[in-house]
Symmetry: C2
Subunit: 350 residues, 2 copies
Amino acid sequence: MSETAAMQIDSKRATTATDVAERAGVSQSAVSRCFTPGASVSARMRAQVMQAADALGYRPNLIARSLITKRSGMIGVVVGNVAQQLYPGTLQALATRLQAEGYRILLFTAPPDGPADPALEQIIAYQVDALVLAAADLSSKLAEQCRAAGIPVVLYNRTVRGQTASSVTCTNHAAGIEIAALFAAGRHRRPAFIAFDPAASTSRDRERGFRAGCRAHGLPDPIVEVGASGDAGARRAITSLLSRPNRPDAVFCPFDQMAIVAMDVARYDFGLSIPNDVSIVGFDDAPPAAWPSYQLTTYAQPVAAMVDATAQLIVEQLADPQARLRQVQVPGHLVLRQSCRLPRSQEPTR
Amino acid sequence: MSETAAMQIDSKRATTATDVAERAGVSQSAVSRCFTPGASVSARMRAQVMQAADALGYRPNLIARSLITKRSGMIGVVVGNVAQQLYPGTLQALATRLQAEGYRILLFTAPPDGPADPALEQIIAYQVDALVLAAADLSSKLAEQCRAAGIPVVLYNRTVRGQTASSVTCTNHAAGIEIAALFAAGRHRRPAFIAFDPAASTSRDRERGFRAGCRAHGLPDPIVEVGASGDAGARRAITSLLSRPNRPDAVFCPFDQMAIVAMDVARYDFGLSIPNDVSIVGFDDAPPAAWPSYQLTTYAQPVAAMVDATAQLIVEQLADPQARLRQVQVPGHLVLRQSCRLPRSQEPTR
């Protein structure tokens, strides 16, 4: 099927790529490249073509084009059940970054109580060029199925066993070690960890690093409670920890949302003072962490750099389907606020 | 181009709709309807066809099909610059609801500092079946352009002048009146309003209702400050209000995020007690409103019902392009918590 045939399918738009090429004084293939997501074209050429396209009212039909180029210009993004795991800023940053590469995000969400995985058939049917799995509670199976179906997959903020897909994460293990070191420096004695979901790589890697850090810095093994299923799960976990006769004096929560629930329970249900009675540290540096009511000490997840790495992996894999899988780890950094006791010398002023 | 031809374009998939129709003992058009977003088909027919499709490994190519049916199965959702205006729960609810109708969301976002409107060319090029404009800071022009291009548009949580598009909003005007009544009942004397953006219909409607309510309940006209541009703008506005010699004793913020900033500034910058020194009321009932640190009295925006109405309007307009435009208003309700002084008799127990 020729390009012209594809254009004629949509009878509303009469101007063809040939008209644009003629007016811009370039080849038809140059026009086509200008309108193909991810295709290489110089800024000057693009300006020339766009000017001609504007003047003629040329509207490329990307859907028809996708039958020729085998590119739909769409990246599927799968988000799971847990709305708060993916802060709106992250999805927006990802959409904005991919748009800069000429792609749009096609969103796949899970029904509230169903399985987190969308049907593979749906993903294939929409012919997305690549897929970003951006939810901690998706199964690893989907990544493998997509890869088998020839759809490049990038895992955002998680990994899978066996490394069957490229991934972008924060340096989760190192972060866990660093938080243990912070607790040790503040002379804490009874560390604890609230696990999100033992099956989720992100929570697991942070826990492993934290355990290793506790050992390395002379702290006992952390007490671990599972706080899955959103705020209610986090509330149960922190309540259980703080009800112990010898309650922990330092709690690491692998997500800020969990840490915020923990702070509220500690203050309002147990009447504890933070950080005098118990230190609480989160992970993400989500907006509420900086709110005066929380002033949460947390490990900042480098969203912009992670989003950038994700876009780069997608572009790489689309340019070369044989490209080596890569596990990219982007370093974050501790943000010291008020929720964790520090050695006297390091206390920040409010 | 016949259906079979469309299928052959993708050489990886050999099974055709004809094979499925034969096995299921139904017509080919029935198979086609089963895989066409929004097409009418009985549950029994669907089950029969899906079973046959599963058995044969039939994978419809929706992109190729869209050239025949003129339906892409995609609804464009445009979100603006302001990430916090559309809580992640809303986008997820919208995606889940539209998926139930057989549609996926194609996301259009604005670059951080560019204009909020995506290019019309892009929206047309991707051949979305309909468009949801879900950002307060989009121009009304886009809605009109899309309508002129034959793409049904639904405005979510906003309206446009001249009613050139269908819209779904909360009963914003009535809510403003109700909040004024609440302030009057709690014996407040100096009401104030922080406007989000005088050009945004949502903020404007809430302000108008609030003004009318103040008048109706014997309160003076509210002092109004503009608090646009995210948290920083809200901070400036509440700081200016609380710095007045005769500072307001009741502030209505048309979004919870703004109310939370206002509470933090009142408490931590001005040392005020809420609600003893100043009452603050928000709008949305976003998750942080219920957090113990805020216990924000707010007007709950009925997200599920609004999302439902949005999906219904889309289905209506796709079924009948001549369908009358409708301005749907869904009633919300006040949620009384701790941030607004009440008449003694109504005080809730914590």
